[in-house]
Symmetry: none
Subunit: 200 residues, 4 copies
Amino acid sequence: MPRPSVEAERREQILSAACEVVSELGFKSLRIADVARRAGTSSGTVHYYFDTKTALMRAAFEWNFARSLDRRRDLLQEHADPRQRLRAFVDSYLPGDPETVRAWHVWAELWVEALHDRDLQELNEQVYGEWRRLMASIVRDGQDAGLFRDEDPVVVANALIGMIDGLALQVLLGSRSMTLERMRAVCEQVLSSLTVGSSA
Amino acid sequence: MPRPSVEAERREQILSAACEVVSELGFKSLRIADVARRAGTSSGTVHYYFDTKTALMRAAFEWNFARSLDRRRDLLQEHADPRQRLRAFVDSYLPGDPETVRAWHVWAELWVEALHDRDLQELNEQVYGEWRRLMASIVRDGQDAGLFRDEDPVVVANALIGMIDGLALQVLLGSRSMTLERMRAVCEQVLSSLTVGSSA
Amino acid sequence: MPRPSVEAERREQILSAACEVVSELGFKSLRIADVARRAGTSSGTVHYYFDTKTALMRAAFEWNFARSLDRRRDLLQEHADPRQRLRAFVDSYLPGDPETVRAWHVWAELWVEALHDRDLQELNEQVYGEWRRLMASIVRDGQDAGLFRDEDPVVVANALIGMIDGLALQVLLGSRSMTLERMRAVCEQVLSSLTVGSSA
Amino acid sequence: MPRPSVEAERREQILSAACEVVSELGFKSLRIADVARRAGTSSGTVHYYFDTKTALMRAAFEWNFARSLDRRRDLLQEHADPRQRLRAFVDSYLPGDPETVRAWHVWAELWVEALHDRDLQELNEQVYGEWRRLMASIVRDGQDAGLFRDEDPVVVANALIGMIDGLALQVLLGSRSMTLERMRAVCEQVLSSLTVGSSA
DNA sequence: GATGAATGAGAGTTCATTCAT
DNA sequence: CATGAATGAACTCTCATTCAT
């Protein structure tokens, strides 16, 4: 009589551990044994749930993304004003708290892994699409309310997302010139310039 | 009678080969033997020039950056108008021709490698600083000429650079939603909005 | 209310499955999990009936032999003429029908396994002894009836059995030079030469 | 300046070691590390010469066969009388001296491995063909000289070879009923019966 | 300067076996 | 009786690194 929850729980433990290890050591240096130890289990068990290291990493990337979405789901309901909604949304991507930093690390590893892996590119495509859709939708709401300049929302979303990716990477790299605070400031500035009537 | 240039030439061959292999296979999958074969030499010789794989990669990253700068040196002299200069500069980073694509690949691998390597972070810091300085300088020239809006040039440079990094990554990932052409369009739009008197 | 036969039935299922898997994949590649799946049960259950993989294989070898004997028991009663009896007996060992082929496969795996296992050698000794006894007995019957040449029956039996083993192996190996038909022809020829008055 | 002989010598050492280990432990239990230790080298070196365990085993089987042929090459020149030539040839296959026993062991492992491997079946086909050709040729010489009965030489060769295979296997299995001496006796008897004018 | 044979530490993966349920 | 999740020992294979030539 296997309890149905046991397998799901174990899976989560392992995926969470995998993300932690990727974040700390990087994909390249990740060993199955590390993930196992972190998850409090054996390497055999990791292989019981995931056939190969590649399969484990793919699942971990997906899990990392699903968690990211979950963390932001409520956020979008909290602010009626599109300006505040956009600000909060962008803000949630600043690599400040450890959980967000970890998610960014995993995401960065995915990128580079995906450069040579068609399947992961597809995953990136889906995630990025979801992200762009959310962002563009907020921009559109703001424009409908006459709050944002009348530019193509998709172009604006792409520009913002690209910028966030690029800046976050520099923050993660510990750049002295692009700290968390600088990134926040740059984002503020750019968001302001979207607003109708802004001088900049 | 070994000419002194022999060693320098060999070094270049190896570094070039290393960048090619990184670009094609990724850092993780790169083997010294691959680099040797690509460079038309033996793994023993690669080790003769570079003590360790890490040393080789570090040198390759630096070489990749130096070449990038070289390729753009003339560019900045060609355009008297800061608007055209900025446009040409940004344009030169679009991952279009094979050489630029390869350089971006190498750069992306460096980023992720640097996430867990202090020395590479320092390299990133220098390169990124150089890039930001060039970009900010053009912006400043434009402002002095009354052509660009009066925002903090460093902030503008950071925003642009971040955006270019993020968008280029998506193009490299073969995104159907962020193709080379889309990236070009987004960049055009953003550059336009910098110009004084632009409606957007 | 488990019927006492349940265990016996399960045992048979597992042994039969083990023989099938050995025949298809070979001893080396046989996994307990394969046998379990083939028997429609779990690996845990296989271990419930057989402590170790070795024990399972030993039992499977014995089961395979017992079945072989069963299949030939009636055969020997059917022919009053020793010549026909011998012919039918030899014929029954030709690797023609799937069941016989499977039995040969299992037997071949036993041989090689037994090369490094004293216990399996003992099993081979018993089985081979039984086989030789039956064969020699038929030969003796034929000689008593004045139908076969007057050679040492044990030597004749050994020669025949050796030949059958060796030829069957080649047939099993899919030899183009030693097909089932060729083997049948060679056996016919040799059996003929045993008969008194044969020209060959 | 690599000496050309180094690689060939090393290869031989490894193949010889592989045959020894196969003979002692069997294919199933053979570990690369065992072969390496036996060859006085490291497992890495074994893999330097043979990509995979499978490749190593295939090469070992071929090497074993080539050596077997070499050992018998002179034998066939030594006896002008086909009866003595056939006797000496058959005799050379009796698993008496350690070298022949080892060769038989390797051969037996090949058989069973080949049951599930098309490539090895092809190797068996070639070797067996060579063997049958030699044997049939001697028989034909004997018939031409009026020394052997007038049976189809190929059938005779097949019968003899099958018998030798089957009997050798039993001797290798340490059968108390089929010792080396018994096998020799059976072979003598059968060879005698081929001779014209033999009473049996 | 250059080579490539040789090494051996290290990692992924397999699978018989165990045991709580 | 039966299950299958979990284990971990064992093995193949990889590859940076070394060094004799």
